[in-house]
Symmetry: C2
Subunit: 233 residues, 2 copies
């Protein structure tokens, strides 16, 4: 099949942006101009331009016009994958040891982040994940019981908490912070590394419709884990 007209318009504009025909911030052709230039209907032009906007390549202002975006790629495709899928996807073996799975009263700091009362019951799991027998991640997780009342009954040697929670509440919002630090003494022991070894640490708070679901601290030995991704225009 020949390329669809909207795709040809889009590629034409993309090429021009890449070649500097419209430097960042400058005015691009209006919809009407593109309609006559390509001989297609306005809806087709609109589609091409709106897709470029959603990809961050142009900015559009009603009543004014369409402008080349200022920055190149500003958003990346950092992917949140279930660790089990990630490991088995590499053709490797995954297993997990559950060091702790219990109900606890929430400390005040924790209660605040999960929007609970201090001392309210929370679920707490501490699990170490292995790739081909080597410790890859220490997962220290707190879960809001209201969101997943059966959380502690799961067998986390077979099903990761992430996978289970995605089933219970499929639509997530999450904030995360990525940093490098030393592990705690307990984490070093569980991961079998020295207390001075650098670790890549992700702290992630997950929310569904304004209800906090879970708070996780994921600690990875620096030598064994990398986050890969790419920016695309």
């Amino acid at each position: 099949m020949a390329t669809a007209p909207y795709a040809r318009v889009k590629q034409f504009l993309k090429d021009g942006l890449q070649q500097g025909v419209w430097p960042p911030g400058t005015l691009m052709p209006s919809e009407a101009e593109l309609v006559t230039q390509f001989g297609v209907s306005r809806m087709t032009i609109t589609r091409a331009l709106n897709e470029l906007r959603s990809e961050g390549l142009v900015e559009r202002v009603q009543g004014v016009g369409t402008f080349a975006a200022h920055l190149g790629p500003v958003s990346s495709s950092l992917t949140l994958r279930d660790l089990h899928e990630e490991i088995t996807g590499r053709g490797h073996r995954h297993h997990a040891l559950v060091h702790l799975a219990q109900q606890e009263p929430a400390t005040s700091a924790l209660a605040q982040r999960l929007c609970l009362a201090t001392g309210a019951a929370v679920f707490h799991t501490l699990i170490v994940h292995y790739e081909n027998g080597v410790a890859l991640q220490c997962e220290d997780r707190y879960v809001n019981p209201a969101c997943a009342p059966d959380y502690l009954q799961q067998d986390f040697t077979q099903l990761t908490p992430t996978h289970y929670l995605l089933q219970v509440a499929p639509l997530w919002e999450a904030q995360y912070a990525i940093e490098a630090d030393r592990p705690t003494a307990q984490e070093a022991r569980l991961l079998g590394i020295a207390p001075t070894d650098p670790c890549l640490i992700i702290v992630r708070r997950t929310v569904n419709r304004d209800t906090p679901i879970t708070l996780a601290r994921l600690v990875h030995p620096g030598a064994r884990y990398q986050i890969h991704g790419q920016f695309k225009p």
Copy 2:
């Protein structure tokens, strides 16, 4: 103004997905059904569904139907910001020291990553960035001279390499890897930290239309730098 019809359809479907009306993988209403249900034209329904697809919430298969996506949020909005903007955006002071800015022959490993011949000339800069006088990033960067012939003539105490290169080649593609490791002896000295201090390290390779532009190693003292972001459905 009242909410646009396409936005109402979109919100209706989003709510249903969030409440589990269509569990992951199940068939959702067809365009025709939504047309009669909402009493709008098919283009309007199509727009709502296509935007949900581009947000990763549904999957559409021609001839078969629209399905609720399997995973929740899979992509994040990790933002690539110019460090100068990031620091001044926090209301802090940024300055940079240029420790090296010269032309060198490429080693074979470097030549390969920049698609040059071994021994071909490359530009090399080594710059330390400070936030309010504290070292925040050690930026070790190689640049393909063909993409930015005037690179070494820039004053990098005033303009970051990232900012300059975005001007020269506004549209980027980049692959990156994030890891935790110890700094090299030179990096520890330049950053004023101990050689055993954990660092957050980003290695980024930037390409424009299949031509490699630059390769950068960005080393941040672990205690001073975090990457923040969020997943949104």
